[in-house]
Symmetry: C2
């Protein structure tokens, strides 16, 4: 069943049927209803390829997926992608997934846009003064950044969570609980989300007359193993921290392991707050000692970004170009007052 057949069935022209379906004003309400009814009965679905050809829109959004060894994306990437897919499938949008080594990213993005196969790009894993942003701004292809860069004007479309605020809140809670030695197990130091989290942590500590010691600050990929090693290092210090912040529940997994191994009791001997991306496979409430977390749904971010990109391409609704999501600080059993005398 194609448009021609449908229009013949209705005794209308293809033009009118097309306009009725695409919400153009110059079609009688009654006629539109007839068309809509016929669509429902016949199960007519417009041919996407023909639409793409006629409109010049590709109907797909591109994402370059960092893929080199030692990329910390894995766990979080899948979750984010599920969100993107959720939303995209509603509007019949495709993806072009372009794996690329991190050094090639700019070129890969440019090539992807130039290919004409995507009419929007999604950018993530932002670095300081990320060159991709200037490049994308010079093109006219819509894009949304997940996260934000630093050191350049923030006049580009982004969706970010308030990383600074999240870790400020978390560190402040720890300080208020009397902790005087706080450690941070963070993501890779070249990524801006990690930099902002450090900043938030330091700010809160400073306000309470505390410092983030160098030896209590770890940057690494967000894997269990790195979490374990960092925590292990911390615990061997002359003055070990009594509280630790983790940039992911994955890191927290390793940190908790090290804590257990040291024979310390989470929530009393040592406190821990992790950032929770709401990964279905790793729920903070399911830890043996449930984790206090700063929470923001990664999947939700994926959905939102897909929606914004599609709205942009289709000129549906005017959504805000810049969003900064607050995180929730959810207190569970892994935080408690600082042990006396420490």
């Amino acid at each position: 069943m194609n448009l021609k057949q449908l229009s013949q069935l209705l005794g209308l022209s293809q033009t009118t049927v097309s306009r009725a379906l695409n919400g153009y004003p110059e079609v009688n309400a009654e006629t539109r209803q007839r068309v809509l009814d016929a669509v429902r009965e016949t199960g007519y679905r417009p041919n996407r390829a023909a639409q793409r050809l006629a409109t010049g829109r590709a109907g797909s959004i591109g994402l370059v997926m960092p893929t080199a060894d030692g990329i910390e994306s894995d766990v979080h990437f899948g979750e984010f992608l599920a969100g993107l897919g959720d939303e995209a499938v509603k509007h019949d949008f495709h993806f072009v997934i372009n794996p690329s080594h991190p050094e090639d990213e700019v070129a890969t993005c440019r090539r992807l846009v130039a290919s004409g196969n995507v009419d929007a790009l999604f950018l993530a894993y932002m670095r300081e003064k990320d060159p991709r942003i200037a490049m994308m701004k010079s093109l006219k292809t819509p894009f949304v950044v997940h996260g934000r860069s630093m050191g350049i004007a923030t006049d580009y479309p982004y969706l970010d969570i308030d990383n600074t605020g999240a870790f400020y809140d978390a560190a402040r809670l720890l300080a208020q609980l009397g902790h005087r030695h706080v450690a941070l197990i963070n993501g890779p130091s070249h990524l801006t989300f990690a930099i902002r989290r450090t900043k938030g942590t330091v700010r809160a500590l400073t306000e309470h007359g505390l410092v983030l010691r160098d030896e209590c600050n770890s940057n690494s990929q967000m894997t269990d193993e790195h979490g374990f090693r960092a925590m292990e290092r911390f615990l061997q210090l002359a003055t070990p921290p009594t509280a630790v912040l983790c940039s992911s529940t994955v890191l927290a997994l390793g940190a908790v392991r090290a804590i257990n191994q040291a024979g310390l009791k989470l929530g009393s001997d040592i406190s821990l707050i992790a950032h929770d991306d709401v990964l279905p496979m790793l729920k903070p409430e399911n830890f043996m000692v449930p984790l206090t977390t700063t929470r923001s749904s990664l999947r939700g971010a994926g959905q939102r970004i897909a929606r914004r990109l599609i709205a942009d391409i289709l000129q549906l609704e005017a959504l805000p170009q810049q969003e900064l999501w607050k995180t929730d600080l959810i207190v569970r059993a892994s935080t408690g007052p600082a042990p006396a005398g420490k």
Copy 2:
């Protein structure tokens, strides 16, 4: 630059240029070379939407992504997808990623195919007598299964690794090393890969007069936490195992944690073999005690499946419809002889 312009430039008809590009025989070798040269100079790239419309092929492959709570896919899914993307991008193929709750899978697959937006489907997370296979066979859309079902004829296209063989080999090695109590920390019991791994394990043990005790057999999602809990349970048994098999390095992560916590020494007090999907973030050689593994690259499987699907759609080369990849058993420090007297 489109076909018309290019053909005018060359003083040829569109037909001839098109045929030259698509490798049809009825074009002079010299002419073809001229066309190819012109393409290189002008940077001409055929419009995919027009191609899709003209050929009726969608140029994209569909995948339904299980997305409900408690789905064990995450870590492994990202890695597999990178492989798919790697290969697809070479041929300018898109993806339609359709998240779906596991109960809806059959309907989602059917809908995806019916939408006409994909000309091949990729299936994974196989269960026993998986209904998706019969459904897909009834349609004429190409598909490849990652894994295999059980209890139904294996006359469908698949790529699987020899799970039975892998765990047979691993278990046999443990038996040969003198272990008499072997445990298994496996994936979800409804997935066929896990069932096959159990089978391989049991077979090897049986051949050495050993059994896989119920209390030494764990099925769960493949997360660190589940690995930890299972191992912890094992170690509290009256007769704890002296060796354990893990279905993923992610599970092994937790298992090793429990082993450490119990004060046991990996590789002497207790041996461990894990299946290694070659996840960049979790290398068995980077464990504190490097892990003995059965290895098979998940990304490689993704690449291969994409290649097979595309070859099928484009009728490029005749690739085998059924592949069973052997795994490598790589011995590292986590395996050793059974401790005396156990």
